[in-house]
Amino acid sequence: MREDRILGIIPSDWRFELTKFSYVRAFLKSRWIPFVFILLNASFLTLILYSSFRGGFSAGNYNFGVSMTWVLWWSVLMILMVPFFSRLWCSICPFPLFGEWLQRGRLITVRESPFLGLNKPWPKGLRNMWLMNGVFLSVTFLAGLFTVRPFETFLILGLMFIAATISMLVWQRRTFCLYICPVSGFQGLYSNLAIIEIRRKDPEICKNHKTKTCFSGNRDGYGCPWMITPYDIRDNTNCGLCLECFKTCPFDNMAIYLRPPGVDLLNKDMGMDEAWKAFIMLGTFFTFYESFQSPHGFLKDWFRGEPLSGYFILILVHLFLSLILLPLLHLTASYLSKVISGDRDKNLRRIFANTSIMLVPVGSAAWAAFSLGIIMPNGSYVIQVISDPFGLGWNLLGTSDIPWRPCLSGLIHPLQSLIVTIGFIFSIDTGYRISQKTFSGDSAAKGFIPLAIYNSLITMIILILITI
């Protein structure tokens, strides 16, 4: 049988265990990890909330909170963390720190029973991405404001912190992260592209381990806060890389592996909520790119409510694109795929959901490109504001007065195009293999044609937007 290879090059079952080095495993098993990183981030978050509350410069990027959040954090998240390192951000995210502290009554040690809170299970009907999709879309409506105004940044981050803390007092474990957080859904979906994964090593050990302490917890750690079953993780979507399973496994049977990019995409059964997440992310990219990085400056004004009628038009177009047009295009491609393949017994709904995963590599690449268009022109603001985090006129590192200077601006569009092209190649590779899994025999190649055309069309539009 022919070996399955990503892009025809890397065997999809290739793995390199990073935790085979004893010092790496010892590091990850320490209860100080990832706490110390969460603590540092909590410190940064406090500084961001404080400086954005104070306002600082009225031109947003000169404010520590605005620059660190929307220039630095967002870019690092979308260019590096999500595409390569899965939910690395979730593992060090400071928002649940206080909620989890109240839940557990402990910061790093282990308490066997919950300390505070109602510990309620999340309603079954909401155990999906739909609510997160709605919350994410709602947040995007305000992006024209909070990405440039310090106080709005304070409000949105402050609300996130309050929502995380309150929901952790009502619902069990990391319900907020799993079902509510607006930045969790796309991280989950795009993390399937990542080059790292946490998986069990030997399935037999897990099979014979009746108490399943990775899920239930023990004296060394808490049961999986993300409420998945670490002994049989199949994809990265809901693994928050919190490392509790490393601590609770008495057999050291959990491992972090390096792997080829995108292998989860081939094994994942997409739900409709995840399919719509993919559409929403792509639709939001189009709206954001046109509004914030295209030559059409009036759209940026519209996004800030100037005029209000323009704002509503923009939001309606954004919703139409994300919730209706892109899904309709995908449905058409899926239907044609079913017809042309000749495999008429296949369920259209299943084809639609499963092949929507093709939008993950190109979508993630589009967002990385967009974020490159933020960090390269605006990165110098970050260098300025770190010298004066409180906006008090300090010049701690001597960088406070350096002029704004875009970085290698001539390379931005070529690099963006390159990233999107790489994403497209992965999308086509993924799509073909999904097609092979969906349709039988020769019909796979035929069934793939409409999907390839549809994906190429989406990519061409992205490239045209970037290059004009």
Partner: protein
């Protein structure tokens, strides 16, 4: 338990501590008043903010950022303050202690 105490101390130090430091440094007796001015072309609404209020005898630090593509200048004629040229993208800081107070015209 000692680990938990250290962790709690660190959380309080690195969150509440930051807020306390900020508030302490914001206390008027601890710092010069800082005014951030954005220099823009007249068609882009000119200066922001458009008014400057100063207190007699209190040191002020005005940071002027020219976010336009042409050279600007800054002056408060009634106090004899002038910045010289501020080139496109540049930041200039002027510090002085006014000998009168109120709202001052600047250009």
């Amino acid at each position: 338990m000692i680990k938990e105490i250290i962790a709690t101390f660190l959380v309080i130090l690195l969150t509440a501590g930051i807020i306390i430091i900020g508030i302490m440094y914001e206390h008027p007796s601890n710092k010069a008043e800082v005014i951030d001015l954005i220099a823009r072309a007249p068609e882009n609404a000119n200066w922001h903010p458009s008014r400057i209020m100063l207190k007699k005898g209190r040191m002020v630090r005005i940071r002027i950022r020219n976010i336009e593509t042409v050279t600007h200048g800054f002056a408060i004629p009634s106090l004899g303050i002038a910045s010289g040229d501020i080139r496109a993208g540049e930041v200039k800081v002027i510090e002085f202690t006014p000998d009168k107070e109120g709202e001052f015209d600047f250009l």
